[in-house]
Symmetry: C2
Subunit: 427 residues, 2 copies
Amino acid sequence: MFDLTKCSKKELTQEYENQKKKYREYLALGISINMARGRPSPEQLDLSDDLLNLNKNDIELKDASGADCRNYGVLNGTLRSRELFGDMLGVSAENVITCGSSSLNLMFDYISQCCTHGTLGNDPWFYNKNRKFIAIVPGYDRHFAIAEYFGLEMISVPMTPSGPDMDVIEEVIKDPDVKGMFCVPKYSNPDGVTYSAETVERIASMKPAAPDFRVIWDEAYLVHDLYEEGDFLANIFDAAKKYGTEENFIAFASTSKITFAGAGLSAVAAADRNIKEIMDRLALQTICYDKINQARHTAIYKNMDDIRAQMKKHAILLRPKFDTVLGVLHSELDGSGIASFNSPRGGYFISLNVNVGSAKYAGKLCADCGLTLTGVGATYPYGIDPTDSNIRIAPSCPSVEELEMASKILCSAVKIAACEELLGIKN
Amino acid sequence: MFDLTKCSKKELTQEYENQKKKYREYLALGISINMARGRPSPEQLDLSDDLLNLNKNDIELKDASGADCRNYGVLNGTLRSRELFGDMLGVSAENVITCGSSSLNLMFDYISQCCTHGTLGNDPWFYNKNRKFIAIVPGYDRHFAIAEYFGLEMISVPMTPSGPDMDVIEEVIKDPDVKGMFCVPKYSNPDGVTYSAETVERIASMKPAAPDFRVIWDEAYLVHDLYEEGDFLANIFDAAKKYGTEENFIAFASTSKITFAGAGLSAVAAADRNIKEIMDRLALQTICYDKINQARHTAIYKNMDDIRAQMKKHAILLRPKFDTVLGVLHSELDGSGIASFNSPRGGYFISLNVNVGSAKYAGKLCADCGLTLTGVGATYPYGIDPTDSNIRIAPSCPSVEELEMASKILCSAVKIAACEELLGIKN
């Protein structure tokens, strides 16, 4: 397509009219498509239905400790589940706690713990009225919501193709009020960026001014490759050991997008003293997590080979969806001068950057057509995208046909917004 | 048995020697029996094994809202599970949130929420350096541990046979720093007391000075009757409606001692505005709870009749255990003048009160024999029983034979402790 920013006013007006005509046709279709959240599709959920068909004899009712999984006890999770997450995260089972269905809950709780009780002998974060947290942008709205809830002022640091801008971070962490940051180091949400080995090394080597600086290392898409050859992510704990900074890192993972989004397992991994501190609090919170669900999972997914085989099945379902969206974006927007987007090799999102100041308007045009996108702005702290340009696309749940249609509507909306801006039409 | 407090020194010395001889025999047996916690026995867990043998077609994969239980969503829990807990707790399903496996976690989170963010527009409890909480004693150690963790100074109020001493409570709540109290209103832990209708009415009518006073109404043993005719507990929300105090009450329940202790469901029930406030926080904490486990439970336990039938089976297993312990306590301690105990009609505990200043020593004598009791003192705030007299007995897990032996050891220990005190022997 021709570059809208370089064409004549006549050409632009022509294109604007074309797109408005298309848009009216879309409007008339009365569609209802949701691309708001990274939800697995029903077909992806079907991949784990074996979990629904186990019987008593199929699962190990007794943990390695001898405890009956049906009863109280084994607060840190069954050994088998800790071994599985340990292999996934590249740490020993002793440094893993397997929990309930939500890793978000574990992150929330960890931040809560640091706020009210501090970590490893340091003052509670709440004692510091100027407490701050680094938000890599664009990023995951639920991370930002936790920071906001606990009054951590967010400092935005831009994402680059190799991970967060480390030059900026290395400056920001000189401030002892800066208490940590959220990272999605593999197939980041929404950019699909995997941190380069150099970035991981620089993160591992950080010596923040705050002695209680904590990196929430959210391995949400650790094994979620779309292609045969996945991105490589260096092991943060191995890297940190070289610098004696292991205690700065708390890693999280879950099977939400491996097995059932709503009924999987979550886990936290950390250095010895952090694990002990988390366990001390967990002992007050609960008597144990659901070990039966842990045993169900490890009855079917015994090791990383089983996990990888499962992820290949997910990829077969997800790839055509990403390809469909990317195909439309390429054909409609390449060379248009009004938008750019990533082509992720894994994860759940495509990040579309449109003309400054036009994302919200494009989102509204889509919504009016019955196409729900992630709330525009949600990928930034406080829900405010300072340049109003980022749109997150979640292609996992709709069908390929719906995605084809949705992507066309989105491109049309983006072009209408761009034309109006270039033509000086007030929307 | 004769009254030790009234017998001659010679008789006392004789009894002391008798008991020491018995005790040495117990010591030689090398037993290992644990009566520390209210854990269901393996046979009780077997009662719910149907939960392990369901398959996909047995459960309702779709919630009433149309949501797939395997996926994200339905943060407040499946409608069926909320209806079940609503029936159990005597409230509408709209006033229930069904969650994960631990109601303790929900209580912890609720207190945490009040501490860091306040409730219904009131200041966070943390803003009040003198924040206090009522601890009904003896009580549940895990409740006290939560209050201690959040720096709520505990004010002990004694339990009576009809519930907490309301005369004391009505005085204590005149202090606006007193922010609430923990109650186990049916078959209280450890006394097995069910609050009388009059006590419930007085609790409902309370107008505490603190506008954000909250009663943590822990219905841990709501349906856990040992006998055909269970104790009656009045509905706190119905009572509170008469006084306009519904918002003072947050009720909790779980199926931990109905189905699997480690893999059941939990629920919170409260007035509309409280439910909304809890949901607003939950939305930051997690995307949803395990709805598959909720669907599994309601596939088998469809209504209160199913729950009651299940509890009758538990009672058949538990009753002989309680009867065994109580039988030994009666035959060994009745008329001795050195101990008293309750005969609960439900719940999980027998509360034994021994001579002032001798519980810890008796507990130590038991421990030396291989008999583990709940840490003596644990039933009081900060683990300190001011009169060192309460011993909590949890008869659910050991076998009847073990309980017979354990109870004899315990009685012997109690008598040795009493004799030494009466004889002026320093232990």
